[in-house]
Symmetry: C2
Subunit: 211 residues, 2 copies
Amino acid sequence: MSHTSGVRQAQKEKTRRALMDAALGLLEDQSLSSLGLREVTRAVGVAPAAFYRHFRDLSDLGVALVEECLSSLHHMIGAILAGQDGDEERIEATVDAVAEHVRRYPAHIRFIARERHGGVRPVRQAIAAELDRFADEVATAFCPRLPAESWPPEDVRMLAEMYVDHMVMTATAFLEAQADHSEAADERRVAATARKQLLLISLGRRHWHDV
Amino acid sequence: MSHTSGVRQAQKEKTRRALMDAALGLLEDQSLSSLGLREVTRAVGVAPAAFYRHFRDLSDLGVALVEECLSSLHHMIGAILAGQDGDEERIEATVDAVAEHVRRYPAHIRFIARERHGGVRPVRQAIAAELDRFADEVATAFCPRLPAESWPPEDVRMLAEMYVDHMVMTATAFLEAQADHSEAADERRVAATARKQLLLISLGRRHWHDV
DNA sequence: AAATTCAGCGAACGGCTGTTTACTGAATGA
DNA sequence: TCATTCAGTAAACAGCCGTTCGCTGAATTT
């Protein structure tokens, strides 16, 4: 039988985590396609050859990072969608949640923003697939709130994509506003803009049947 | 006196253009921070040292590419803002213009999308500054159309940023839809979604005073 | 207790990198 | 016509890269 938590497997997992964490750290100043294998192993303190015990290559590690970074975002989205408040309350909660998420996991957001259109195809595809799943969830969560006669499935999908894209956009804006040598006022300005933009979308959504 | 179009200066300009074009081509499969100086000169057919006659380093070339790529976008925006049609006509014209622009200059859009959050700071800053100028133009173009009592300058700015971000978003969506091994239906779907999203924003804008 | 697995090591490999140097020779200016 | 400028060259530099190899020794299995 194969133990799932032997001393050996635990050490391997630990090294794997260290590689991923080191890579995420190094990726704050460069993009994945320029990250070096030796660079990562050097930061962890293991031999270059050890890398191959965990990942086929760097784009393999990148895909693993996508899952990690977007699963943390996924939890945040789930919490927001679970809330049953009105429009204004939900907007407030959403912007606050995004701001705190960026504050807690800045490297995650930077990685997603940077590699979403980056130079490594498998990573791009992994991010796109995951964001598509997010849009699905948003769509199914919004479905019961929208009158079915004026909201065909494709329109609901359009709205959901808009929310997801806006969330990513807002997160990267927070990231820049929270960067070193930025003032707290920048962050408040980003939050105010995001709230207004979400309100604008809400207004458009309420009057969608007028068309 | 210094001639602006001597035989010598013309040849220099030619090599400079060749370097920029070669770089833009190579950047379709990787990002700027992984692009090699020798790689670029090899593609052009000149010695590596010749590069330094034109650019300090690769991020310098990147900034030059930003100006080139965004100036072509800038012309497109100007043409759209000059149109005096109604909402639906403007939406139609905008989406068509973006689609054709992406079809004509796919490498430009890819570069902007990839390096907007990429690993080279000076390039990021150049893109951000230029997109900020775009938002300014959109804001001043929309200002006379909006009732001043319900549209303070910050709200106009918020709307303008939303339009600019949505345009970049739409352009990258077209880029993926026009990629090899994609069907024409994908492009039509992107166009339909973009039109609906712009319509949603228009509806929100019309009811902004309700708040 | 003996056999096996396997994460990590150290060394070596050919190849590519950015940058500097002194140079050539055609376009330019006096 | 003669001197100067300067875009592009060829060669060399030290340094880093990804990848492969056989090996070690502790955790695991039999």
